[in-house]
């Protein structure tokens, strides 16, 4: 897929990949072998009927392709952009054995974008009202999926969002250049057309508790999809210096509060040298955002090797093209600050990789006396999150793991409390958008089951 030139795109926040033309999409779609076993479908967390929609694109039946995707996936324009297809459908693609796998993600994105452009987003058929009321906590990928499945099945769904804007991580976390907010808005507007209601500025655990929703507000079930939670920090000296951000804060300032715009009311520090600590997609998002906010030298510091980075290969490639430098095998030991408390640099130790740890990755071992300093004015800590305590603390008897995540069966989303379900990062810890959507879909099925409602057969 064609992309914005790296030198140009570091001075704007427009999307990097430009999308297929009709001809490009049809040409790519025609590469599909149409194999009967369809391993791609089995590898998709929400089981999109991939060969079917690809065939429709090949035949030029673009609106039909979009409808096919929507049967399984309520947010195709988003998933086409942010799913790690290389680890899922495209990894399973037989074409990949001998060359490039089919670009399923790009085709999904094409079908969804084309439908959007033509203004033909048709809400899927809705069943008659069943009289059940469901509260969905959080309007991120997990919550939106549950909500759309249940609304489609005829439930009255109310989505409660803590922030002033909907979309969860899609809105506050993923940058505009990777997922334009207009697309998130459109996808959500499409869901609203299904009849679900969105309530913003509602913090479950504070504004109301789960028990209140069930007992006083009369909801038949509650789904908890509150997401990643509180940012983790390194626990090294200097982390409270001025210029140290969690990736959550840096990205929220830029994405949710639009601090990248010159006239924004919310500030964000801009400076020539930024170090981002971490190796995931969020670290790439932060380092690439920094490049677009006047940073000349944007360095990603990661304690393992490049091969071990959890970020998508495409995101690492995009970051490198934009001039982001990777310093791997590098262990942050302290953030240095000047007399006024402003960040001056980050002190690191070199690392060698030792034995494999529980995750199967080789354990980083700092080398004694190998300390060196990277000078910078901003440090962004992108090493993940720990669960938000607001709901566990205010919901008696809900089972919580030692890590603070809510315990829910990954296969059905059921928690230790009847009528309370959970899915997404609040259950798994930091994971992907599509995994959260898969969890949402599973939870929606058990909610319907438990409420004695018919469950549609899985496609």
């Amino acid at each position: 897929m064609r992309e914005q030139d790296p030198d140009t795109r570091v001075s704007n926040f427009a999307e990097v990949p430009l999308g297929y033309t009709d001809e490009e999409a049809r040409a790519e779609a025609r590469r599909c072998l149409g194999c009967r076993t369809a391993p791609c479908v089995a590898a998709c967390p929400v089981a999109v009927a991939i060969p079917e929609f690809v065939g429709q694109i090949a035949g030029g039946a673009f609106p039909a392709a979009a409808r096919t995707i929507r049967r399984a996936n309520a947010l195709p324009a988003i998933c086409g952009r942010v799913c790690p297809q290389e680890d899922q459908c495209e990894k399973a693609c037989l074409l990949g054995k001998r060359g490039q796998p089919l670009a399923i993600g790009h085709l999904e994105r094409f079908a969804a974008d084309r439908e959007r452009r033509e203004g033909r987003v048709e809400p899927p058929a809705r069943k008659p009202e069943c009289g059940k009321r469901i509260a969905v906590v959080g309007s991120g990928p997990a919550g939106l999926t549950v909500a759309s499945e249940l609304a489609g099945a005829g439930c009255a769904v109310v989505v409660l969002e803590a922030l002033h804007a909907l979309g969860g991580v899609l809105t506050y976390g993923i940058p505009e250049f990777r997922l334009p907010k207009a697309i998130v808005k459109d996808e959500i507007a499409g869901l609203e057309a299904l009849g679900m209601r969105f309530v913003r500025n509602f913090v479950v655990g504070r504004t109301e508790t789960i028990d209140h929703l069930l007992k006083e507000d009369g909801f038949d079930a509650v789904f908890i999809g509150t997401g990643a939670g509180l940012p983790s920090f390194l626990g090294i000296p200097g982390e409270n210096a001025v210029g140290v951000y969690s990736a959550n804060e840096y990205l929220t300032r830029s994405n949710l509060m639009k601090a990248y715009r010159p006239d924004a009311a919310t500030p964000i520090l801009r400076s020539p040298r930024v170090v981002t600590v971490g190796g995931g997609n969020v670290a790439m998002d932060a380092a690439r955002t920094a490049r677009r906010l006047d940073t000349v030298q944007s360095i990603v510091v990661y304690r393992r090797g490049e091969a071990e980075m959890p970020a998508r290969i495409e995101e690492v490639r995009h970051a490198k093209e934009e001039g982001v430098l990777l310093r791997t095998l590098c262990h942050p030991a302290a953030i240095l600050e000047d007399e006024e408390g402003f960040v001056q640099g980050i002190r690191c130790l070199r690392v060698e990789l030792g034995d494999r740890d529980a995750s199967g990755r080789r354990r980083p071992v700092p080398i004694p006396d190998s300390a060196f300093t990277i000078e910078c004015e901003i440090v962004i800590v992108a090493i993940g999150n720990r669960p938000n305590p607001l709901i566990p603390d205010t919901t008696p008897d809900i089972l919580v793991s030692g890590r603070g995540t809510i315990v829910a069966d990954p296969a059905d989303g059921r928690t230790s409390r009847p009528r309370v379900y959970a899915g997404g990062d609040i259950v798994t810890g930091s994971a992907t958008v599509i995994q959260a959507m898969g969890a949402g879909r599973a939870a929606a099925r058990s909610i319907l089951e438990d409420l004695g409602q018919p469950v549609q057969p899985r496609m």
Partner: protein, 276 residues
């Protein structure tokens, strides 16, 4: 949209807004705060709830027009409203029957102090209030505190009302009389809370302060409001906003408060000059 039912100008740059907020009014407890956004594009501003009425469905906020965002809020009139209002956020104050309680408030810090003082009084404590401001004109909530306190001392920097000096001077007076207290709550500008809580701490009075760090979401997401409390990283929005004053790393807190000083100055000037 949350409508403004009533506006009262308390001082040249301090206003009290009564906002339509039935859910928050029903649930709020002393010490909790809200975050509001005036219009689309505005910043998110955290403010402690001063008062509220569950039956009538309103909460009161007191706003000091210090920066561009608060200036714009302060210019709102009755009948207008704010686009977004979320809360109640933060942990409620710890209210107990402590015995002899000391409530010390400076400037607009008196606003978050009022509901705490009220709850302490209702819990059966003996209440001593020390309240301070730059001058008589800027001293807020005097009548409310008078009605509540068992004893009260006012301090103004210019001596236009009560004792000339700071609330810390008023506290020194009490201390020199050999007065003893079982619990203190100190709320005001960060430098004042630091200075006063050092004095109360020296006399062994367990002292709580309410922090007002920079924050965005108020639900734990951003970590911008992190504070070093006893060597542990705490988030004021979910772990606070009240903490044991003796355990706070004040220097680090003060430094972080100033993160955007330059930006704030520019915003204030623009707002002052253009009136927008």
């Amino acid at each position: 949209m949350n409508g403004i039912r009533k506006k009262e100008v308390l001082a040249p740059d301090i206003v009290r807004l009564r906002l339509e907020a039935p859910r928050i009014a029903a649930r709020r407890e002393p010490g909790q705060f809200v975050i509001l956004r005036r219009i689309d594009g505005s910043e998110r501003i955290p403010l402690t709830i001063v008062d509220g009425n569950a039956e009538e469905g309103w909460i009161d906020l007191i706003i000091q027009m210090a920066g561009a965002g608060t200036m714009r809020l302060g210019r709102l009139e009755e009948g207008e409203g704010v686009l977004d209002l979320v809360g109640p956020l933060g942990k409620p104050s710890r209210i107990d029957r402590f015995g002899r309680c000391l409530c010390i408030g400076g400037g607009v810090g008196l606003a978050p102090l009022l509901p705490i003082a009220r709850a302490l009084k209702a819990a059966g404590n003996h209440l001593t209030v020390l309240m301070g401001a730059r001058n008589r004109e800027r001293l807020i909530l005097l009548d409310e505190m008078r009605n509540l306190a068992d004893e009260i001392t006012v301090a103004t920097e210019d001596g236009s009302l009560g004792r000339r000096g700071f609330v810390s001077d008023a506290f020194r007076d009490l201390a020199s009389e050999g007065r003893r207290f079982d619990h203190a709550v100190v709320i005001g500008p960060a430098v004042m809370m630091k200075a006063v809580s050092e004095l109360t701490g020296r006399l062994g009075i367990p002292t709580t302060v309410s922090l007002n760090p920079i924050m965005i979401d108020g639900t734990g997401l951003c970590g911008g409001c992190r504070v070093d409390v006893g060597g542990e990283m705490k988030f004021a929005c979910v772990d606070g906003p009240e903490f044991d004053a003796a355990r706070i790393d004040w220097d680090s807190f003060l430094k972080r408060l100033g993160s955007y000083r330059e930006f704030e100055h520019r915003g204030r000037e623009k707002c002052r000059i253009t009136g927008r």
